[in-house]
């Protein structure tokens, strides 16, 4: 049973979110720029926390801990190792140049940035379709993951369907009225909350298990394989290498991350984010890794998906009920901070990049449509979470890979003057088709040469962009000047 103190903590958490929503709504102006981009005025702490909180999903504390439970300390380097460096690096590589273009031309989304660079409505449309195609299933899976965690932690007191409703409902309470500002302010609150509480939970679990040294000695004695990366088939070198092309480089392609970078106030803000991001990623995944590995000796015998419950189980078995509530708050904060940003971004993409193809949408109308679409996408995500359609779950399984293979076109657009719209279109379509053929097992496994499909698909994207661009006419001088004269002005 949840104690009155626990109920009080939960109520306080929800009230703070609602107050932030109300206050954010009073400040937010009914303009496209302000509602969707907070008038490009996010400072260092705001941009850091919103990127970080949007990046961290239920996987961090649930899935990653479960994976660490199974493969040991090697899970840390496998899942987050390369991301620690390359994710903030892509904020420089892609983010800064896109931010400059946004400042100069008012671009607010990837379809606008890359459609603008290539001067092509088709490129913009392909970006829009692919981003929605991968983001929507990922959103549904995020809701499913969060709802399962919430119903598990409350031992069914809050059933799965109600959990999904609560998660989506609370997100809408502040996102509908306050737009980007609402999600950013709540990200600052929720991000700080889960960073601090996760550390407290780690220390409390360590103390309950006899201390950091004692629990590690138990692992060394009873399951030394947890220390040796070479003993796990799942993180074998070929998988380790291939995985470098999945999660880590996909982050900048997530539309919710990309849009937030465009909302930064200054270049200095982005620099600070890139500088401190490695430490924050290493910190939160380090906690999750330790909890997962410790769980393998404290609560042995969990198989398969059962291992994903290791953090809730550790809290329940070794800590007091109040800690269970705090653990629940951590999970809610992590889940909601990514779901609200995904919801706002898909509504933004449709409002800014799809509706104008059919009718003129004024700045004020964009806010109206954005709010309507938020409700529609939230309802769709809730429905998807309830019926869990196999097709949606299949797409979500390779959504990260799908995002990753769009990166070569983004890099080509920002760095290679010879890249053109034909190359970009081909490099968006062909690797996506190949990825589907591999994941849906239409093509035999050996055609990937034992790599994960994302690696050959990434190479296909690079080759297609280069070959098709070189075989077709170069972009016009004016078109190139629009992008590269700006970069010349800044970088030379």
């Amino acid at each position: 049973m949840i104690s009155p103190l626990g109920l009080g903590i939960l109520a306080l958490y929800v009230c703070i979110l609602i107050v932030i929503g109300i206050f954010g709504a009073r400040i937010t102006r009914k303009t496209r720029e302000d509602y969707f981009l907070a008038s490009r005025g996010l400072g260092s702490i705001a941009i850091f926390m919103t990127l970080f909180a949007s990046n961290i999903t239920a996987f961090t504390i649930i899935g990653h801990a479960g994976f660490s439970y199974q493969v040991g300390y090697g899970a840390y380097g496998y899942v987050i190792g390369w991301s620690i460096f390359i994710t903030p690096f892509t904020y420089y590589l892609i983010g800064y140049r896109s931010w400059l273009l946004g400042k100069r031309y008012g671009y607010a989304t990837q379809p606008q940035v890359f459609g603008g660079i290539f001067k092509s409505k088709l490129v913009a449309f392909l970006f829009l379709i692919l981003l929605l195609y991968y983001t929507l299933p990922y959103l549904v899976v995020s809701v499913i993951g969060g709802s399962l965690a919430l119903s598990t932690v409350t031992e069914g007191l809050v059933p799965y369907s109600l959990s999904a409703l609560v998660i989506i409902g609370i997100s809408l309470v502040y996102t509908i009225p306050a737009g980007m500002r609402g999600t950013v302010w709540t990200d600052i609150f929720q991000g700080s909350l889960f960073l601090v509480l996760a550390l407290f939970i780690l220390v409390a679990v360590a103390r309950a298990l006899g201390g950091f040294t004692s629990i590690t000695e138990q692992i060394v004695r009873s399951n030394p394989a947890m220390l040796q990366r070479g003993l796990s088939a799942e993180i074998a070198p070929i998988n380790w290498f291939s995985f470098s092309f999945t999660n880590s480089i996909a982050v900048i392609v997530f539309p919710q991350m990309f849009t937030r970078i465009l909302a930064a106030h200054s270049s200095r803000n982005l620099k600070r984010v890139s500088l401190f991001y490695p430490l924050a990623l290493a910190f939160i995944f380090g906690i999750s890794t330790l909890l997962g590995v410790w769980g393998s000796v404290a609560v042995p015998g969990l198989a398969g998906k059962e291992a994903d419950n290791i953090v809730p189980l550790l809290i329940k078995e070794f800590l007091t009920p109040t800690w269970t509530i705090l653990g629940l708050v951590v999970i809610l904060a992590i889940v909601k901070s990514s779901i609200d940003s995904q919801l706002l971004t898909v509504a933004h993409l449709v409002t800014d990049d799809l509706l104008p193809r059919f009718r003129r949408v004024s700045s004020q109308q964009a806010v109206f449509w954005g709010r309507i679409l938020l409700v529609i996408f939230a309802a769709a995500a809730y429905y998807g979470a309830l019926i869990r359609p196999a097709a949606i779950l299949n797409i979500a399984a390779f959504a990260f890979s799908g995002f990753s293979i769009m990166l070569p076109v983004m890099i080509g657009a920002l760095y290679w003057k010879r890249a053109n719209k034909y190359g970009a279109c081909a490099a968006l379509i062909l690797p996506a088709v190949m990825l589907h053929l591999w994941y849906l097992e239409v093509l035999p496994g050996w055609t990937t040469f034992d790599f994960m499909p994302v690696f050959p698909a990434f190479l296909i994207a690079v080759l297609t962009l280069v070959v098709v661009s070189l075989l077709t006419s170069a972009p016009s001088v004016d078109q190139k000047a629009k992008t590269f004269d700006l970069f010349k002005e800044v970088f030379q």
Partner: protein, 85 residues
């Protein structure tokens, strides 16, 4: 130093970080090296160090190849002015 040279140096840093992440030849140290601070095996401690290195690498990249834009660039898009409360 031209930006091209600086950017090549940035790419070298990226390549070095990639090699350090995929340093499979170091995996045998997982069994040889004792626990750091009593609770961190090599496989874990390596990435704590890697995070600090990534911090340093990003600092170097920022110093080398991340120039501040001029006011001209920043002021060229004025944003929307039709404000309605």
């Amino acid at each position: 130093m031209s930006f091209k040279i600086k950017f090549i140096m940035v790419l070298l840093i990226v390549a070095l970080m990639f090699v350090l992440h995929n340093s499979f030849w170091l995996w045998e140290l997982d069994t040889r090296i004792p626990l750091f601070f009593g609770f961190m095996p090599f496989a874990f401690f390596y990435y704590v160090g890697y995070a600090l290195l990534a911090f340093g690498a990003m600092r170097l990249i920022i110093a080398l190849a991340w120039p501040e834009p001029s006011d001209n660039v920043l002021s060229s898009f004025s944003g929307e002015e039709k404000v309605e409360k």
